[in-house]
Amino acid sequence: MNDYVINPDLKEEAQKQFADLYSARLLMQTRQSGAVSAGRLYAYVQGQHDETVTHLIQENLAARRLYRNLLQRNAYFHVPQAIAASSEEFPERHCNGCKIRLQASRAESNQAYLIIELTDKRRDMPTMLSVFGDDETCEMLELPPARNGVIQTIIDKTSLLAKLLSNPKTETFLR
């Protein structure tokens, strides 16, 4: 039996290598298998579109925990919780360089603008919002491209995502 010891310093590099390897294999063969490897999940975190992984994260608690774990180390922005509980329907969330807020639509009372404002307009812009509830539920939203440091879209106020964002204790990641 061979033992492979990975230096902790090289762990992230190894994860990246595995994700690249996975992407390369995906290009070479389109055959889908039922299992989802950690490399595939890591590639997903890195921005690889993968419906199977999306479904798995929503259905499987272990996958959700692993996804959250990977996000904690790879997300561009992480807001553990809203700064303070307030009387507002949707509390604002701040972290260094980023503000996330919901603004009710005047045109449609059951819809709200999800507005993500980023201070540094030169950096890589996030493409995915992931919100984790205190009951370990998870909602993800693919984001439109940022314009002038602002990402804006519309969500239904009755959606699970809006419900999670209305709870100050939920944890949000932007990747």
Partner: protein
């Protein structure tokens, strides 16, 4: 309040501008059917609205809110040909005497395709034939209904449309700048900046050349008629419910008339029992005047009309006859002059 339906022409069919709402958001967006589906043209729309890069805030602002939500009835793909329709929609939204309308209750339908640059010049676009083709079915109902319809595009596109002889009831307007669009919509006072310094020269030349206009309202718009032929005087008379309508007691008889040359008009109403009386001119008309050629005139019932005709007993088959003459003459409806052009609107009047 004039109700104007704005159609953005697309190859997938005409898209109605349903609603414009100022919103407290950083970016303007285009949404589909009042849902949370955001159309991909939203980024371009935001640029088109935003001061600096766009023209909407500059021309129609300031607004308390910095962005708009524009709701439309169908998807709009790539390209910028929606700009003219969106500009028109914002003009109507800003206008004090008109409002955006649905199709059913519209007093006027304006179908637009073209770009609008920073200097407010209107640009021609591609795929005009496909856009017209995909709009035909939707518009046919409203042509039959008698709702005035204007096709407004850039100059070359308008020439293309005119060359293909649009059906009666559709007016084609060539827009060189958005000033021309304002006239189509009936606005004179709204545009803040000069669209193009050559506009007035062009307008005067065009008006001198053709002497006619294509517009629903009383304002002049440069028509597309490269060569003005001498056409014989003729008249077409219809109602806002079409050419063979049914009316009931209490309904308003809204008459629309168009002549091919500048002409004087005399109209007579004949009841089922044979009684005939003049309806135009009448004692509500302070000063009679010749009617301008190639323009739809609202004779009665419209916002700008001098009088209304409210229908009452007796019921039966009634008719209105309108006579057009080059010179002002007295007309006996039983024995009109031979050179008078005539058109008759027949309709059923029911209790």
């Amino acid at each position: 309040m004039k109700r104007i339906a704005i159609f953005i022409a697309t190859t997938g069919g005409p898209v109605l501008v349903d609603r414009i709402t100022p919103e407290p958001a950083p970016q303007s967006m285009v949404c589909l059917r009042r849902q949370s589906d955001v159309l991909p043209i939203s980024a371009d729309y935001d640029d088109f609205v935003r001061p600096g890069s766009g023209v909407i805030m500059r021309e129609f602002g300031p607004y308390e809110e910095g962005a708009f939500r524009l709701d439309v009835s169908g998807p709009i793909g790539t390209g910028l040909s929606w700009q003219l329709g969106v500009f028109a929609a914002h003009a109507v939204y800003k206008g004090s005497h008109c409002e955006l309308s649905d199709l059913e209750t519209a007093d006027l339908i304006v179908w637009l395709s073209g770009t609008v640059d920073y200097d407010l010049n209107v640009g021609d676009v591609d795929h005009m034939a496909e856009k017209v083709e995909s709009s035909a079915l939707t518009l046919s109902d409203y042509i039959a209904k008698g709702t005035p319809i204007i096709f407004a595009t850039g100059p070359e596109n308008a020439k293309f449309l005119s060359d293909h002889k649009p059906p009666q009831g559709i007016q084609v307007c060539a827009l060189k700048t958005t000033r021309d669009l304002m006239k189509v919509l009936g606005f004179h006072e709204m545009v803040k900046t000069a669209g193009n310094t050559s506009f007035w020269t062009m307008a005067v030349l065009a008006l001198a050349a053709v002497g006619g206009v294509f517009a629903y309202t009383q304002y002049a718009v440069t028509p597309v008629e490269p060569e003005k032929e001498v056409v014989p005087l003729s008249i077409s008379l219809t109602s806002d419910r079409g050419k063979a309508p049914i009316f009931f007691y209490g309904d308003h008889l809204n008459l629309l008339v168009k002549v091919t040359q500048d002409a004087w008009l005399k109209c007579f109403y004949r009841q089922e029992d044979g009684t005939t009386f003049p309806v135009y001119p009448n004692d509500q008309i302070k000063k009679d005047h010749p009617f301008e050629a190639d323009k739809i005139h609202i004779l009665s019932g419209g916002e700008n009309a001098d009088f209304v005709i409210k229908l009452g007993p007796p019921a039966g088959k009634e008719q209105v006859s309108c006579f057009a003459t080059e010179k002002e003459v007295q007309i006996d409806p039983q024995n009109p002059p031979q050179d008078a052009a005539v058109d008759v609107l027949k309709f059923d009047l029911k209790p």
